[in-house]
Assembly symmetry: C2
Homo-oligomer: 332 residues x 2
Amino acid sequence: MDAMAGKQSFEADQLPQIIVFGPPTFYKSHDKEFSSKFRVLKPWQSQLPLPEFLTAQAKNIRAALCSGVFKLTASILRHLPSLELVVSGSVGLNHIDLLECRRRGIAVATASTLYSGDVAELAVGLLLDVLRKISAGNRFVRNGLWLKQGDYYPLGSKLEGKQVGIVGLGSIGQEVAKRLEPFGCTISYHSRNRKLSVSYKFQPNIHQLATTSDILIICCALNEETRHMINRDVLLALGNEGVIVNVARGAIIDERELVWCLEKGEIAGAGLDVFENEPYVPQELRVLDNVVLSPHVAVLTVEASRDFYELASGNLEAFFSNQPLLSLVPNE
Amino acid sequence: MDAMAGKQSFEADQLPQIIVFGPPTFYKSHDKEFSSKFRVLKPWQSQLPLPEFLTAQAKNIRAALCSGVFKLTASILRHLPSLELVVSGSVGLNHIDLLECRRRGIAVATASTLYSGDVAELAVGLLLDVLRKISAGNRFVRNGLWLKQGDYYPLGSKLEGKQVGIVGLGSIGQEVAKRLEPFGCTISYHSRNRKLSVSYKFQPNIHQLATTSDILIICCALNEETRHMINRDVLLALGNEGVIVNVARGAIIDERELVWCLEKGEIAGAGLDVFENEPYVPQELRVLDNVVLSPHVAVLTVEASRDFYELASGNLEAFFSNQPLLSLVPNE
């Protein structure tokens, strides 16, 4: 037993070292597997403040794995003088100081399109739930009201025949569109650029997309152009039978205006997996019957967890063996 | 005003007379429109017991409109000696004594495939909700637990790649299958007969379908062959990662066995729009986290309500003007 322990620790010393920030939600399911391949520094287990921890232990660290909510700022990067690679567990990269990484020549690998199918599924699920009042009906039955009050009668709205506007027709947006086609929806989209590979109608601005759509599905990245892109004007253009679904980032919608529009009946409903100040969700939203609120779980499936492990460990192994990364973010 | 009222009532006397049983859920939204075309007898508004009401007022009634839950039995039909047509607002006809209708030569018109899209949408919505834990996540956020307890971590299950078994590949089953294809599911089915028009794999019995499926979606009619077709054996064959969705009739599943399997973790979850003794839903089901319960609303959309009115009034008008019915049930 002692000999074994000695052997293990000797071998562990030979493993390439990485640091994990966050940790990514999926990390805990694969801690053992990562630890069999890498010597893993876990700052969240230390009593030291992060800068001191990094100064003491991370001077020679060449690769980091980080979650989608951990803010990898320039001041943290300053404590990692040997860093060459950041692997993010997330699709969005708004939590990483990409400019600083670029200046320092630090490569960034992302989850890329790995979770697009998972996210698209949740978008369609939230949309059907809002339109067909599934969670609301579920509350009605669970609370015993069906027996007490008789039939549940607020009629749902049929997805078939609806005009769906997709905001951001990247990998996720396209996966959503593909899944909505056999429901008999007409798809149009707004994106930075018109996509020549698709036949969906392009709308040159978000206001026009909202005006011509019954449903808006937010699938774009959060950046300074898209922050609060969905403001009161856009919501009013969507109209009082309109429904909005957000599986991207909370701050793309001006949340205060969204609450106002939902409360006033200026739009019909919302399905939200993301919020401006997670995990805080405004009380006003939490009591509305015409919204479905989801705790940022669009990628949280058993299947995506396995995909995450394979891509993240694959990227790290490629890096340490001087092979090309599996999912490098282009240094635009 | 009086003259108008007199004129209206004179004209109303000329309108063909119908009786409405139930009434169908959608009827109330279209009462005015029906009443402008037909003189409508409404037994539910009378103090008289139904047989007396019928004897007193319905001797000459030739056409009836009935809901999907009103039991149109031989003993009620006996009080309607002039009846020639029953128009049902529902797809299923298990509430009508079809043998007695056939014996008497009473034509039966049904909603036929009118609501197939609405029902298929709800089936997919319930399935995504159960797999991706949408209603459970919604409860978590609404109850403020995200802020208090941190991330919601029970991982969902991805629909992509799943084996879906459809029980009854009629119009609804086919609409469900069509919508699931772009999710990357593999579809197979069990039906009374193999369908030559589809390429999905046919399974000759329900047990084999359950054994080879991750998900069962019940879309068949309720009859003596299908009552309790989904028994404990079938559920155990589906297995502890299996999910079942029912948008057909409650009694196709042995509900007591379903509750047992859900409580014991013998299957993973269920999305149910129908129950054995509606509106009663067992307390044991109402407290489970891995089920989504829906108060029999698969057809309850604004769009289906309009479709119902058009088909029902169209059938009645066709009948009274001696034209072929729009949706006659074949007298097999």
